[in-house]
Symmetry: D3
Subunit: 251 residues, 6 copies
Amino acid sequence: MRLLLLNPNTTEALTQRLALSAATVLPADVELLPLTALQGFPYISSRAEAQIAGAAVLDLLAQHEGRFDAAVIAAFGDPGLSAARELFDLPVTGLSEAAMLSALALGERFAFVTFSPRLTPWYEEQVTRAGLGMRFAGTFTPDATLGSIAAVAEEMRAPLVETCRRAAAHADILILGGAPIAGLAGDIADEVPAVLLDPVKAAVLQAVSLHRLRPSGADKGSYARPPAKDSTGLSPALAHRIAGKDAPDAP
Amino acid sequence: MRLLLLNPNTTEALTQRLALSAATVLPADVELLPLTALQGFPYISSRAEAQIAGAAVLDLLAQHEGRFDAAVIAAFGDPGLSAARELFDLPVTGLSEAAMLSALALGERFAFVTFSPRLTPWYEEQVTRAGLGMRFAGTFTPDATLGSIAAVAEEMRAPLVETCRRAAAHADILILGGAPIAGLAGDIADEVPAVLLDPVKAAVLQAVSLHRLRPSGADKGSYARPPAKDSTGLSPALAHRIAGKDAPDAP
Amino acid sequence: MRLLLLNPNTTEALTQRLALSAATVLPADVELLPLTALQGFPYISSRAEAQIAGAAVLDLLAQHEGRFDAAVIAAFGDPGLSAARELFDLPVTGLSEAAMLSALALGERFAFVTFSPRLTPWYEEQVTRAGLGMRFAGTFTPDATLGSIAAVAEEMRAPLVETCRRAAAHADILILGGAPIAGLAGDIADEVPAVLLDPVKAAVLQAVSLHRLRPSGADKGSYARPPAKDSTGLSPALAHRIAGKDAPDAP
Amino acid sequence: MRLLLLNPNTTEALTQRLALSAATVLPADVELLPLTALQGFPYISSRAEAQIAGAAVLDLLAQHEGRFDAAVIAAFGDPGLSAARELFDLPVTGLSEAAMLSALALGERFAFVTFSPRLTPWYEEQVTRAGLGMRFAGTFTPDATLGSIAAVAEEMRAPLVETCRRAAAHADILILGGAPIAGLAGDIADEVPAVLLDPVKAAVLQAVSLHRLRPSGADKGSYARPPAKDSTGLSPALAHRIAGKDAPDAP
Amino acid sequence: MRLLLLNPNTTEALTQRLALSAATVLPADVELLPLTALQGFPYISSRAEAQIAGAAVLDLLAQHEGRFDAAVIAAFGDPGLSAARELFDLPVTGLSEAAMLSALALGERFAFVTFSPRLTPWYEEQVTRAGLGMRFAGTFTPDATLGSIAAVAEEMRAPLVETCRRAAAHADILILGGAPIAGLAGDIADEVPAVLLDPVKAAVLQAVSLHRLRPSGADKGSYARPPAKDSTGLSPALAHRIAGKDAPDAP
Amino acid sequence: MRLLLLNPNTTEALTQRLALSAATVLPADVELLPLTALQGFPYISSRAEAQIAGAAVLDLLAQHEGRFDAAVIAAFGDPGLSAARELFDLPVTGLSEAAMLSALALGERFAFVTFSPRLTPWYEEQVTRAGLGMRFAGTFTPDATLGSIAAVAEEMRAPLVETCRRAAAHADILILGGAPIAGLAGDIADEVPAVLLDPVKAAVLQAVSLHRLRPSGADKGSYARPPAKDSTGLSPALAHRIAGKDAPDAP
């Protein structure tokens, strides 16, 4: 199968980091197709930015439709996830939802650990949306100030370890959220008394499983394709998809 | 005060209907500024469409910034509501949130009544997002098939009354959701054994109250303005706003 | 419209303080009618006292019926709120419910801040009653000992600011509960990294909005007027009202 | 031990019915002291009436303090329960809370069955107050019209059996709420495929158990006695109690 | 009545401790029959051990069926409770469920206090199973290391008092869980600003009450006896019971 | 990898049916090892039976330890799941948990459909245990009487389709629970307006994913291995495992 790893941020270095982490769990028969957004923000960190990026995710999926069998929206707040599931005949997964579902099978209570308190409201909306509040222990962030997005995992390693230890008093599963710290979970596992989860790994594995379980995604219920509809001002590919037509260049 | 009534659908007739309903509760010192989206969909009815429309709402607000003191996003699923609250220094309300908050003061359990089952998943996400599930009794829709969006309130009057009666066995407050049936609540109140709520009235009154309570909106916490940020590919007005600058042409 | 501001405590100075705070948000066309309870307690601070005061609230409303269009029960635990909504054909609001509903539109998670831990169980019953636990972060009180009720806002200013700062680590909206600290929110807003809410302002604005939305209050469902009933030992005005008769001296 | 069975309704016949049902489960060493309210309503059936009756319950308990070791407030909506627990140094139980707690040990999901839909909002407030919504399946009432309160159990036997059968599709434990149908559970048990609970039996047994477990009631936390307080306009006995003094005539 | 006190641990000293604590609340007409498991673990402290012990509980109950009228499963995590209620025609109670139900009538929010963090996940499953999360404040344990199980209550007295004080900041009712600290609640009550509950007392009293309320246990709904069934490899007594036959040697 | 498919029922034909369904989604590099319980019940259908079977599951896993890399407990109520995760250094999944987690990514609200109402309390305990009640719509069963367990899927096909259609009015994802109807989901998908899920497929795919994500299972937190412990009366293999020793014959 061909798995699209769609980074909705415009920072190519993050895509590389995510792909590297994903590769460590990828089955041999899965081809990973990394893709970086061309429009939007270097790094999405608010609901306003996620609202805009989520719309851009739909556009990118429409433009590349036919070239992949499943897709991962590779930003922790899952911009555009419900919308993408409605529009496309294939499984789509998101980093936060996938990490939460994995957490439920590995422990009792999960927490988010991330590098900036600005991310908290957006990230916690994912817990609410998923109805998983009964097993959520909160979001934990370091006091330290963020340097550059590209080097967060290295520069903030020590404060993040200390934040994980603090979070471990409240949760037994810690989800390290945010693309810039993809892969960090593996590096610091020995220093934290809790199970650490790397969301991109969870999301890639979930996409592979859903592809085996239902290659077409949900075709009824909440995520059924909506009726064809006219639109104004959208890109041709997205307008085409919303008008209910198959991708023009699907193989 | 100047109150923007932003219809994120592209159908001008819906804007008229919403403005008419809003006018019946508007205090004398409030000037209503109706605005219809130029891009998007005649009538938003899925989460995919709401994802795209929510981004367009931000764009419209940015373009008109400085001309209004508070804004109502006049579609029942509140596309872009959290995002708009983050970005703009003034109160923004949405039809579904405002209707739910009014319902909590008028009865014990509320239900949504709308004209098409396609709207259910999107509408119910608003209940989940708001954490109000304990007082929600479900969404009720007629079996009848929808004719034209512009004439729903008239063509489907009888099946909607019958749906309201059915819903009244489960809830004491019925929220008639969907711009095409704005105003219907008043017309059929005598035929239904429950309190009927018209969302646009609730949203307009909430915006007026918030303007008196906090003219600048929330300036701390979840809806505080995010740090200024660069972007690629956005309209100049929206890019300007996200870059943390005041509207260039604010009076 | 004529808005009754009913202070169920017997301390006249609290009524003045509440009226002063209310006045800052009152629309020009609203006449505020402050009223202080003649029987009961100088300051209600337990569920036992609220049980008794709630009955007295109904009596006062019955005695003054016809002289006002909407009423605010101006004690934070909303004594008699559900009961009053059942009995009277007009909107009634309460300080805690109104503050919570405003909080839902201004942030994600709200907390109560008040001056005495004795108030906590009574206040938190309001969160439970309203079904809003998913968005509640707890009640925070200073360690300092309370001096006189009349001068709480001044004498405990510093410990309350420090309590607010502590609460701000758990919630983004802080509701300053308790009539003796009405108005304090505005004074200390700059010293606390959270949005501060003054309940009496919220309750007054909610009453004004409900009066525009439904001047008769809910006439069906949970808050519909109960059937007329005989009673023994009640004041004539309240017995009259419960017997389903209009106020004898309504204008 | 001496157990006060306080009927907050003014109908003596209901007290007899409740005492009769209680007697079937009473241990030999418990003396039951039935007491009927002299003021209030023949039969409480709304939150307004419960607000008033709850205050009267406190008064009655204060007047009889010293003559009993524990008390049952014998109306299904538990008027004045929290307040009474705060004020008196002994266990107090209520019909709905006791029935719900018994239900939790006898099945998975409980429902209320009662004879009039008017009672529903008041009764369901008890589920919310207790935080037991996850195990509650709703309130079920017959369509039949109520005749006289004194003869409900006999006149409405058939519709109540049919209502119980309907409720049994949603719950495995049915609580027959309302003093007028005390004892009915035993009569119709064979006709309903669910466990039927008689609240007054549950409340009497809970009071006996609490008296063995903690004869003084809770003396710390939520139900600790509030600080002594002055009051205006209360009966001497109640004012005395609230002023923190022991009953003048306690043995 | 004859009340079986079944200790599923193999440590006889714990049975003595539990019986001693139970005796302080036992009505005069109840004969307590203590029974210690012969197979299993000296002290159950994980879900794996509880899974095995719960099956052994069923076996012991089957072997002694006919010699008792009600049973208490005397380990805090209630191993085999639901299963025992299904299989036997009499009331069965468990330490954690009974303590939680008592707590609901004595305060607002309860916490568990126990001597080892290893017990937390197993104990908290009981809160979840009972649907009581809205009133639960967490599990609190000392940092101190556990010495011998038999002497926990004495050796860890000081750290447990200090843990209770810490827990009292979050809950007003503290349940001291774990058979090895049965009876401790009474000893340290004066040193902790919260109501302390001893689970074995609560469980014994609940069993006595249920025996008066429904001597046969629930015979319909969730805990109705399952249809008779063949089995392989079970003890004769348990196979007999599951085959739907009465105890061969019932009196 | 080697994946143990452990059927805790003693009916070999069910194991075949489960293996057949699992095979349709199994990656090429996974070897499936079906195993049927030798002791217990032909078909587990109550919590009493699950309590016993769950203990037997631990025994079987201990006896075969070293021969597999991950295990599926192939009964819908997941007997012994938490316990097995604690004891063994590898991923263990269960049919109901895995199906629920898959459902969360394919729709909004899931329901269980099964062939006998006797299974309902046991199955619904899994929803409660997992904290997923906010997305659960109930259990639906046919009125038809069950014939033989081995032929349920064929004999009850029509009533199960009709039950699914009824359930589809309440949920968009239907989980067909119970080993005897493994595989049915695929057969009847076209006849039901909802997404149908086959739990054994979900559980197998989850085990494969967890094996890639964490081959050793959770080694910290809720599912960390408990300390070594002595025991009495267990099988040598299980006693060995609980004593914290590796399987004697691990390869």
